[in-house]
Structure formats: C-alpha cells, structure tokens
C-alpha cells in the first residue's frame, strides 16, 4: 500500500513533537461506530492513560495504532513518520511494543524463550542461512536483555517453565516482559493488571515507572483499575461509545460531569 500523504486526512496533528500521534481515528464494525475521530498524542517518556467503560473502544484504538486493524479514517504518526501503511511487525520493529487484554502467549515456549524471541525479533533478525550455519545462538547482548527483564518482571523463578503451565497472572507478566525485551520506545499495555492481586498490581505500577525512568519508554495504558491509573499516569483521555469525551489529568477528567455520567450513569 502506498504511504498516505501527510495532508490526506483532515485536521491537525495534535503535537508535532510527540512520539505517537493519532489523528481523527475512526473505525466502524457493521452498524457499530467503534471509534469516532479519536485524536491523541503521547510524548516520549510519558505515561498516558486511556480509560473508559467497557465497550468504549479502547482495545479497538490499540489495534488501530498497532496495525492489527486498519482504521476507516484517520492517520497515525510514530516518531515523526506516518505508519498507516506499515503492517504490525514493521510497527513493532520501529519500537511499538504491546500487551493484550486477552492473553496472547506462546504456550509451548518457556518464559526465557519468550523474551529471547522478542529480543531477536525486535532487530528483524532471523535469516535462514544463519540457522543453517549454526549462527543463531543467543548473543551476549540478547542474554543480558533477557536476564535484566526476567528480574524486572520478577519471573526468574519460572524462567524455564513452559508458559502453558503458568497462571493467568504470570502470563500477564510474561506478556509485559516480552514486550519490554523488544526494547520498545512506546509500550502499549492493555489492562495489564487484570488477573493480578493487590501486591502484584502495585509491583506492576512500580515496573511501569521503572521502565519510564530508566529507559525513557513511553507507556500508553488501558486500565480499569483507577487506583493504579492514579499511581502512574501523567495524562489521560476518556473514551465512551468510541468518542473522546474528556482529556487532561486524572483528577480533572474524573471531576468532569460527562465522564461521571459515562461511568456512573449519573452526573452527581
């Protein structure tokens, strides 16, 4: 598909200096307008929240940003480059990592293998001739990355266990670790605390902050647990029925009557 010209989509880019910019993203499934002109920007090193009731369109927006769904309208720019025509794996290689609301792990692989695969795939490495010449063994920098991430997500105890034998909470952490092993510039986490207990959720929030502080990774976070969102995010936008209904700090948007109505069904 040819690249989309910068002026093909009406409207302005929200922030010329941002790492990720989405402009007027729309997506329709049959008769349902899942997203309607959603615009957002995430700066480098920022933790950005994306909240809203069930069915608001948060995961659909994630899928549009990652290239797993092609939006009906709008455009996405990453690090100044329009990426609308890029397939998912090319976007991943640019530095967009993600986790999934519905777990997407590789059951036969061990936790360590998950991280190793991510560390290698990020560079687009994997030529067949290297396998045939036995040059595919882990490189020192890949081993270093894997070991570092194992400690970061506290999965060292189960590092060599096939993921099929792990609990849901562990699988969430495997997904997070896998995304981090690809050294993303932007981590998109889709309800990462789902299935975790209170302590694990707290540890997850710490990990997200560490990732941002130590590696400058921006985080786009979809989360229902507003306590966790409050702990980590700098800014949020709120979606409801595919529309962006508020934006700002978490306190500001939660005080907004429109948001309270969307969440609670009443304005008070």
């Amino acid at each position: 598909m040819p690249p989309v010209p910068d002026d093909a989509v009406p409207g302005e880019w929200p922030d010329g200096t941002a790492l990720l910019e989405a402009r007027a993203i729309s997506k329709r499934f049959g008769g349902v307008q899942a997203l309607h002109d959603v615009t957002l920007s995430v700066k480098a090193g920022e933790i950005f929240g994306l909240v809203g009731p069930n069915g608001a369109g948060k995961t659909t927006l994630f899928n549009c940003l990652c290239g797993q769904l092609r939006p009906d309208g709008g455009s996405v720019r990453f690090n100044g480059e329009i990426i609308d025509s890029l397939p998912t794996y090319r976007r991943a290689r640019l530095g967009i990592g993600r986790t999934f609301q519905r777990i997407e792990v590789f059951p036969e692989l061990t936790v360590r293998d998950h991280l190793f695969v991510a560390a290698r795939a990020e560079r687009g490495d994997g030529a067949l001739w290297k396998d045939l010449l036995n040059l595919a063994q882990p490189k020192p920098e890949e081993v270093e990355t894997v070991e570092r991430v194992l400690d970061m997500v506290a999965l060292r105890d189960v590092a060599d266990t096939p993921v099929a034998a792990l609990s849901l909470g562990h699988c969430r952490l495997v997904e997070l670790g896998r995304a981090l092993a690809g050294k993303p510039r932007l981590l998109m986490a889709d309800e990462p605390s789902s299935g975790l207990d209170v302590n694990e959720t707290r540890a997850l929030a710490d990990t997200l902050r560490t990732v941002r502080e130590e590696h400058g990774t921006a985080v786009l976070l979809v989360e229902h647990d507003l306590d966790m969102v409050a702990q980590v995010v700098d800014r949020v936008i709120v979606l409801d029925f595919g529309q962006q209904i508020a934006a700002g700090s978490l306190d500001e948007v939660m005080a907004d009557p429109v948001v309270r109505k969307a969440y609670l069904g009443k304005t008070a």
């Binding site: 590789f106 595919a136 590092a159």
Partner: protein
Amino acid sequence: MSNFLSYAIPGIPQGCEYALIAVGLVLTFRATGVFNLAFGAQAFVGAFAYDLLNQYQNWPQWAAFIVAVLIISPALGLALDRFLFRHIPTASTTAKLVSTVGLLIAIPLTIPILFGSETRYKIAFLWLNPGIVYGHLYQTPLNGTVIATTVITLAVVAGLVAVFRWSSIGLQMRAVVESRRLAQLEGVNSAGVAAAAWALSSALAGLAGVLMLPQSQSLDPTSTLTFTTLLVAGLTAAALASFRSLPLALLWSIVLGIVQNLLVWKLPSGSVLQQNVAPALPFAVLVGVLLFNPRLRNLEQNTDPMASVDPPPPPPSIQIRDRRLDIPMKWGWRVLLAGFVVSSLTWIPDNWVYPLALGLVFSIIFLSVTLMTGMAGQLSLCQATFAGVGGFTAGQMAAHFGLPILIGALLGGVVAAAVGIVVALPALRLSGLPLTLVTLAFAIFADTVLFQYSWSGAGDTGITFARPGTYFAIGSPGDSHFLILVLVILAVVMLIVHLVQRGTTGRYLAAIRGSQTGAASLGISLTRAKMTVFALSAGIAGLGGALYGSLQTVAGADDFGYGISLIWVVAVITTGAMTIEGAIQAGMGFALFQQVLNLYVPSRFNGVEAILFAVGTLTYARHPEGIVEFQKTRWMNRIARLFQRYDERHGRATPLPVGTAPGTPATPLAAPGAPGA
C-alpha cells in the same frame, strides 16, 4: 437460447451431486463442529452396504435402504462420536480435521479386508431406474438417476433447513457446537445432542453414497477414494456458503454444475482449454473463495469459552529425560547406525535392502512434514505433490538432457521449493484450516490434471528414472549402493531440519504456532516465516520425491496422488510430527511394515499398514505430539522415577532433567497431560 438451456440443464443434476457433498460438509460442521473430510468414506460405506444387500443378497430396495442408510450409516456416526469426537471437545478444528483424514484412509481400506477386494459390477439404484428415460427437458433426457438425485436432494435440504431453523434439537446442536461443556451447564444433554448430530450427518453421507452409486460402472472396494472425487466441487460450494447456510450450499452447487457445463459448450471443442478449464474450475473458485471470503478466516478459531480448563500439553520426552541416560542413548544410536550400515552391505538379503532404502527415502520426504506440520503447525495435504514435482523434474531432466539423477534431484528440490512458494502465496492471507483446504485442492488438481501430461508425470503410465552411478567401491551394486547414498542424504536433511528447529526460524515458528497476533506484535514477519517453511519443506519433499522415483525406476501420477499425501501425513502425525525421530520412525515403519505384509500376510490384508497409521491419527487431538512420542514421554517419566527412588535410597541428589537449564528449579515430574507436567 435452447442451445444454452440444453447445456445448462444437465448442470442441475450434476450440481445436485455436488450439493450432497456440500450439504453434508456444512451439516457436519454446523452440527458437530468437525470439518469432516471422511464424509466421502462414510458415503462409500453406505453405498457399499446398499449395493451388497440389494444386488448380492437380493433384498428389496426399501429393506436395503433401511439397513444401509437408516441403521448402518447412523451407527457408524454414533461410533465415531462415542469413540473419538466425544473425547476431544475443545480440540482445534485442524486437530479434528487430522482425525477425519485418518478416518478417510482407514474406513474404505477396512472394507476389502472384511468383504474381499473383488470389483462389483452389479450396481444398485434408489427409487427410479437409471436405464429408463422418463421424459425430456430442452433435449436433455431425464433418466431415473437425474430425477431421483434432484428430487431427493431438494427434499433433504428442505428438511434439514426446517430442522435447524425451527426445531429445538437444531438450536441445541448449534449450542453444543459452540461449547459442549457450556451447553451442559445450561441443562442440555450435550453428549446426546452431539451423538444425534453425528447419526444425522452419517445417515446423510449414506444417502449421498446410495444416490451417487449409479454414476459408477463398477464398485471397487480397493479404490479407496472413489467417493471423494467430487470432494473439491462439494468443498467449493460449501465454502461459497461459508460453511453455514444449507440452502446456499445447494444453490452454489447447482451454479457450479451449470457453469461447468456451459464452459464445455463455449470453449473450442476438443481443445486443451475445454479439457482442462471445466475440471479446474472448482479448484480455482475454491482458492478464490478461501482467499477472499472473510467469514472463512474464523473457521480455525476455537471459541469454546471453557477451553482454558484443559490441562496444558506435556513437555517433549527429551525435556524430562534423566541426564544419566545421555551417554547410553548417544552411543546406542551410534551402534545402531553402524550396525545398520554394515548389515545392509553384508548379510541382509536383497529383498530386505529395497524396503530399507525405501524407508530412508520416506524418512527424507516425511521430514518435510516435520517442518510443515510439526514446526509451523500447518497441516499440508499436498506433500506428495511437492515430492511429485521434484521427482518428475529430475526424471524429465534425465530423460531429455541426460542430467545425472542426483543433480536432477537437487534441481527437483529447487523447483518444488519454487512451487511451494507459489502455494504459500495464499498463506499471506490464510492459515489453519482454510490453508489446509488450499493444499488439498492443489493436491487433487495436480493429481487429476497437472501430473497427467507427458511432460510431467505422464498419468498412471509414469516416466522412467535412472539410478545414481556408483560413487564408492564397497558392498554389492544396486539397492545397497542406493541405500548408503540415501542414508548420507538423509543425514544432511536431518541436520538441516535440526538446525532450523533449534535456530531462530524454529523459535519464530513456535511463537507463530502459539499466537500469530502475539508473534506479529514482536516484529516477527509471518509472511517471511511461512514462505521460508513452505519453500524448505517443499524442497525437501521434492528431493525425496526424486530419490523415490529413482528407487522405483518408474513413477507416475499414482505414486504422488493426493491419497498418497493423506497416507504420508497420517503416518508422520501418528509417530510424532514434532520430532526428527518421528519422521524416521514413520518412514522406516511404513516401508518395513509394508514388506512384512507383502511377505507373510495374505494379499487381502494389503493396506493394513495404512489403516494402523490412520487409526493412530485418531489420537492426534489428544496427543498432538504423536503416539510414539507420547509413549516415550511415559517411559522417560517412569525411568526418571526409578532413578529418583534409587537416589533417595542412596541419599544422592537427582540431577536436573535434560530440558532444564542449570541454575533453575527442576520442573516437577508428572504424568503426561497433567497440569504442570
């Protein structure tokens, strides 16, 4: 206009024949969640029983119909449900498909063993006599078969639509297909409903078989795939109906029949186009539909919400092997290999050297299945076609340009790899079941059209192959030389597969097998991985195909037919598609077992080896690692426990299993299939 109608109208009964298959596939899929490739085999059973009772036992039509279609056929369906599909409710569509491929092979092969292999020339019919013309419609004679097939097909589809749309059993069937266990929680007798669905679809298969009987001049119990020749047309119509709508399946079947007839009318008479375009139409339409009908992409998904309660798969046996077995196993294999080579060159009788060489050639071809199915998780039903492409390339190059067979074999491998890439092009959009169907369509197309030309396989006559020259000066010439040569080539291919398996490609393929979405999100190019595996797998099959032709000295379309593809793939899946040993065991087992049967068992039992491998496939959904691998895992667990007990008695620490990295806790030993194993 009347000319148009005189060509179009015969397409209607022809379309009704396709419809019987199409409706059967849609019904089974909707009512049981199984994509039943064995439908043709079930139809064969019904037809055979009806013919036997009506023509050879002189039963009246109604009595033969009741027993064959209303008793034997449903009983077969009930047996399939009771002993097979009931136990694999949450298996993927592909896993269930593998079981139906096994049935497709095993069921018709059992008939000659039970009833003898004589061809039957007295063919029964149902309701109206095919020899009588009851009237004409636009110059088209309406004989008994045309009227009976059309009327009964229309009535059956109307009845089935009514059952699905308005009866509670229809609603329950749809619920049970979504999730047997969830439906059970809602108070539905899932087992009973599924059994009823199998009985119904099997009775329909029996009826289809009986209606199609008069189309054949004879009924050959050894021609195992007689009733699957209409499969592609039926599949195409079912795919056009998205495997959901029975009336649409009927409608598209009739359209397909009419279009095929019109093509015969419009294309120049006797031309190559007329001979090939009409038969090839269903293949082209099927591939197009699979590619562009988005509703078919979800066929593979296992939507059972209770699938997560299933235990995780067991680790491969090598991962739980006690490290103290390393040295005995390593040296054991070396001694065995040396013994094999020395024996083949010295004392083994000539009539055993040939099957041993054949086993090695099969092993090479079967390693292509290891790559495709074991590593990439993609069931391909055209591996024999790839082998044929390689084989015929080598044979034709030797015949026309005097190219040495070994160089021809390498060239054949390259050509097969190129064909593999072409077949993989749909893989850019497809995976799982739809892609499997593309490979099946390609295999049938090659078998019935491509390999029939003199420039390729020359049909059943076949082409002549040369044997490689003598490259070393030991042993007796002939098969022994060939055996050693093939052994060397096999070692190289094993090394290639081993390196790919433990390299980056192998890990990427394991990731893709687990979750395509997850793999793409990491930066893995699914397209590149699929192309690589298709090309490599087809290349290896092509190389093996050339060696197969060379060993046999004459090989034709029959040797690389789609039925052969099915048998080969079930052989590897039975022993274990995920390991290199699995391919070797399947190759050697298949060839040697064939020889044992040839030498020591009456000829009526020919084909028992295929039945045994096919029956083995039935366990695939429960043990995707293969029966042999499953048994190995059990034995490794037992041995590990013995070692553990010995260590405890002597106060020693048990070393970590082979698959565990140093510095990490050992995976607790458990029975295969148990959580945590």
